[in-house]
Amino acid sequence: MIQVKNLSFSYTKQPFISDMSFSVSSGEIFGFLGPSGAGKSTLQKVLIGMLTTYQGSAIVNGVECRERTKNFYENIGVDFEFSTMYEKLTAKENLRFFSSLYEKKSRPIEQLLEKAGLEHDADKRVSDYSKGMKARLNFIKALLHDPLLLCLDEPTSGLDPTNSRVMKDMILEEKAKGKTILLTTHNMQDAAELCDRVAFIVGGKICALDSPHKLIMSKGATTVTYTWMENEEHSASCPLDCLSADEQLKRLIAENRLQSIHSSEPTLNDIFMDLTGRTLL
């Protein structure tokens, strides 16, 4: 679906994205992770044809992005981080207008509104919507023309846990339909849960690219930390795969003296920090 080869781009004389190469298969959820200003959004702008003065090659759905025509957009749906709705129009009017711009037959608007939990607010002006409602409406707008590629920029940003879950379920539902999804985020939990593969982007370069599971496993084993009382509270840690060799832990269990015990799996953020010395948050 996407082939990027030796992609470089700069806003000034300084390179902003340099020599990036990767590919994304159809039906894959591919995440771009990185701190603000890393180049994630710029990369997304190149891939959706908003920036065309790049060097190298960026092919999306068989079309070189700088040579895109209006048909290019028939199969791309974009959900920006911010609302892109007419505030004075109702949700339904907005969806009707945007769907009319495509040659392809629109997905049923009522069905999409219902899926996003907005069916009772369909005739309400968007200016009266909450941030979470706007985010969900923005997302279903990207689905109207049933695109093959979805580009989602921080889709769960600012959502409460319930709405975040609704959004993630809708994303997974699109994946199940075979859609390719590009997810730009700095939310490591979302990336780990949703993405088949992630690319860490720092300073306009890809520092690592693999599945979240493989990246996490590359850090090493999960550690177990436990505490016990002996005049005062003490704590100790040991790798999960060496637990049976920890004599002190075995003794504490036998004497029933453990105060607490918990495991700590490395997160994508830990991996990111290890690789780049920076934090995602």
Binding site: M50, Y73, F80, K88, F97, L101
Partner: protein, 236 residues
Amino acid sequence: MKAIRLSFWGMVTYLRRDMMLFAACLAPILVGFLFRFVIPLFEDALTDWFHVPTVISPYYGLIDILFAMLSPAMFGFVSVMVTLEENDEKTAKYLFITPLTKHGYLIARFGIPSVFALLVTVVLLPVFKLSPFPFSYIVLLAAGGTLQGIVIVLLILTLSSNKLEGMAVTKLSTLIMFGAAIPFFVKDNVQYVLSPLPSFWIGKAVFENSLFYMLPTFPLLFVWIWALLKQFLRKI
């Protein structure tokens, strides 16, 4: 083409929710009635009062020029306000990545309204004009006014980044229309200080009653449009 057409009609539908912009579209007709029927009454009253043969009538040509520029300026103002609102709401950015594309967006917001303004001016100017212009003058005044309207639109869009700033910049930008008044009021060569303004040459042509003076108008308008369009495209 479908996306351009629907986007243009989308803008027209949107206007119904904004009475200020809707009224701006009707302004050429209201002002036309005022110019055509109220100004001659004033002229009669003033000449009687001051016992002079003319007071306003030497400037009827100037009033006609301003009327020729009015429809493009008003339709341009409406398009600019919608565009700035779309910019504030970030809908313009989204429309660029639909089959409408950036190119189609510019046609829907500025190309079609400009053609519409040209047609309206060609129809209304013969009805409301105060001077006995031949048809060639009417067509040239309408074309000059339309291109002048595009210059005003691009000036506002280049100098402002939101609707509020746009309102303020509109007042400033429309001042370039008043270059047309200079040949009527400044008689010596100092008038040429404002010759880079296309409207100056439109005023000069009407004042001197010679189409020869229209010659610099269109190249000047294209230079203004080219320079401003370059700035605007860089901005979006």
